[in-house]
Symmetry: C2
Subunit: 79 residues, 2 copies
């Protein structure tokens, strides 16, 4: 089973990496950029019997290790 | 227009960050992990007239700055 995890900074948290990317893109001539946010993308291959238990485990992983819930949100997709 | 960009290492490229995550998760008791790959996730808000021109621009940004095409693949979704 393959889990795709998207970790993003919460809306109100400053994203200096995103700002750097935005400025670099603007200096390359892309002047119509309004905002850039950088996050993390993690793929986990899991040996799991069913989607429900995989989902539960992945959420546990995010809460214990992968995401910092004070400043980050996460979203999980399981195939 | 919001573009979501997923940048991942190519299949054959070693992913030390992914290995560290896999080992950390295993040491937390998640023993059914088979593989972990870490990538980047970037959201770009763009002032663009239509999806086609946004798509063209985003692909150009990926090729010029965001992704290293020697070792990385990217995928774009535009809403």
């Amino acid at each position: 089973m393959l889990a795709k995890i998207y970790i993003t900074l919460k809306k109100d948290v400053l994203d200096p990496q995103g700002s750097v990317i935005a400025n670099s893109l603007k200096s390359l001539g892309f002047n119509n950029i309004e905002d850039v946010r950088q996050g993390k993308y993690i793929e986990i291959k899991l040996d799991s019997e069913n989607e429900e238990s995989a989902n539960k485990q992945i959420n546990e992983m995010c809460e214990k290790l992968l995401a910092n819930l004070v400043i980050e949100d996460y979203k999980v997709e399981i195939n």
